[in-house]
Symmetry: C2
Subunit: 373 residues, 2 copies
């Protein structure tokens, strides 16, 4: 998600990001996750909150805790390389924490890119890896052009369908600049994230047509009913980017989602489509089989870094300085809003909704960790 | 463009594809293009017509003829490799025919993928290269997973803007299968192609809201006015996939278009955004500076080919066999419609609209080529 940022309501508490990171780290450590790995997991979640993407922040801690408790996520597992060449690799995540698998695979892609100009790593048998942008940030920090993709639980219906077969399959890409903030794309390939349905469900307000379909595959405006059908898998779900049918190019969003799934799930020899992240009987013991794809490019292999950054800055300037639509006063570049929120939240603390705060407190109690937030 | 296929009207003539290819080849040869290169250019255009994408077929021959006549396209130019490593290269197209530059660069990516598992080639200073799918078809024929992208003349306004800064920047990806037709994505990243505006202009009918904006950057339904403003560059243009503003994720389509432009225009050290394919004073002598990106992956570097194809077939089956929306009886995979039209047009001949036939006749006269279609 890029421009659509769900800022916290006025009911939020603001928590210092370092304190929050330390708390989350202790929760992971309570499962016997190594210190190094717990730091990665905590950084990953808190970075999402700092950037204003709370749907992928500490609000998801419950999900990881449950996964480690019920055996879906194996907290001591280490990813292994199953196939390798100088520029490519396939990694088996061994059902470990998605963040650890993602961090390992991104490091591998970075090393390969530094040696050969390009590093491509396809990953199978992993878990939910948080924001796709955590890994492209690593590649950006390494001075590389970075791409990160993952498949997800099936929440999206294909064009002309009414069953959720494909994931929200996000894509992130980063590219360095000199003067401007780096280009930082991090977006789901569905028209909306699941969180949007939940917002409309809570508000009890009609959704715009073109976001989701009902159990018959027709455009739906009742978020509560759509969510109920999605949970029970009775049909209906979120539409791909471009919406329903062909009129606004919904088949293109569907196509981009398949591109992601093929590079992640199929190329890694892993799971794809509605084989990903399905709850087993009672929700227990079923491996999530999430698959990822990472690509790092060493820019100097293609063009001088100075020229690349100069052109990036010029591209950004051309967009930002171009004429605005009537009623608008700013054209955004991808990542810009998140950079601003990041700076803001480092000052104010990370906003946590009341119910998230309560959940963290409950988790602390369960795991015997002091709750000091 | 994938599902939206503009089939020819009943006014069309049907022309044998081999005969058409030979004619187009002779036109290119009349500019001194080598026989081998003329075959590539003719194949590229006729393949688009065979697949039911006439907007990129022989209807564009006038554009290439004009380009070679006015010096925008240098028909004797040969692309050169300006930077190279075992898995990567940057190519300068030397203002040659986009098809020749694209063919050369794709061959290079294929050779690199065969040797190292991956071949990535960024290309600058080229011209319009026809359908992106021509190059992914080459990679598919070589048994590889293929990706092809290009930037284009600026026709698309960024989210909240009213000036055309970015291209329709298409993406194509192919992946092999055993039982089913291969996955064959070939789509512009804009909500519609320019050709759609022209269809509504000719019909004199209102367009749906969310396709294009007027000179003030507001949603427009008058295709004739939008086209007039676009030609005069008075403001307005086509919207990115996801439409106007943020409600339907227009910033995502805008982001994917930038991803394409960065991999093509910036990474190659070439032109991007509104620096691409701009008419010079009088339309003459201005290099188009189109940039491309090609990536070929050797599947066996990641997973056994047999497993890959089995999973591709299963992915396709899961989609095609899943429940249809009410009123629909078929779920399509990308490329399926085009494969069916291809088979059909090989039997019936390629449909040519009356005015396209007239244009080809006029070109034949100008170039001293016998017109036998």
């Amino acid at each position: 998600m890029t421009f659509f940022i769900m800022e916290a309501s006025s009911m939020s508490l603001y928590v210092n990001n370092q304190k929050l990171t330390q708390f989350v780290q202790k929760i992971f450590s309570s499962f016997g996750v190594t210190r190094e790995d717990a730091v990665i997991c905590a950084d990953n979640l808190v970075l999402a909150d700092l950037r204003g993407i709370p749907s992928h922040g500490v609000a998801r801690l419950r999900r990881y805790v449950d996964g480690m408790s019920n055996g879906t996520i194996l907290p001591h597992s280490k990813p292994i390389i199953v196939r390798e060449a100088p520029s490519t690799a396939t990694v088996d995540g061994q059902a470990g924490l998605g963040q650890i698998v993602g961090h390992f695979s991104t490091q591998l892609a970075i090393e390969k890119a530094r040696k050969t100009g390009v590093g491509i790593v396809a990953v199978r048998n992993s878990n939910h890896y948080g924001i796709a942008g955590y890994y492209t940030q690593m590649m950006l920090d390494a001075g590389l052009l970075g791409i990160s993709m993952t498949n997800t639980a099936p929440l999206v219906v294909p064009t002309f369908g009414r069953k959720m077969i494909i994931g929200t399959n996000p894509i992130s890409m980063t590219a360095p600049t000199r003067r401007n903030k780096p280009f930082f794309l991090d977006m789901a390939t569905s028209v909306i994230p699941r969180g949007k349905l939940e917002v409309y469900d809570r508000m009890g307000k009609d959704m715009p047509e073109g976001w989701a379909v009902d159990s018959k595959g027709q455009t739906a405006t009742d978020a509560t009913e759509v969510l109920r059908n999605m949970v029970a898998r009775l049909g209906g779900g979120i539409l791909p980017l471009g919406g329903e049918g062909e009129l606004y190019g919904g088949y293109k969003g569907y196509g981009i989602a398949l591109l992601v799934d093929i590079l992640c799930g199929v190329l890694s020899g892993g799971a794809y489509a509605d084989l990903v992240d399905i709850k087993g009987p009672g929700g227990a013991g079923q491996p999530a089989l999430v698959a990822h794809f990472f690509m790092a490019l060493n820019i100097e292999n293609f063009v001088e870094m100075e020229i690349f950054m100069e052109k990036m800055d010029d591209l950004i300037d051309r967009l930002k300085e171009s004429a605005k639509a009537e009623g608008q006063n700013r054209i955004y570049i991808h990542g810009e809003k998140e950079y601003e929120l990041y700076e803001q939240h480092r000052q104010t603390g990370v906003p946590l909704e009341e119910n998230v705060h309560e959940t963290l407190k409950a988790i602390a109690g369960e795991r015997g960790v002091v709750f000091d937030l």
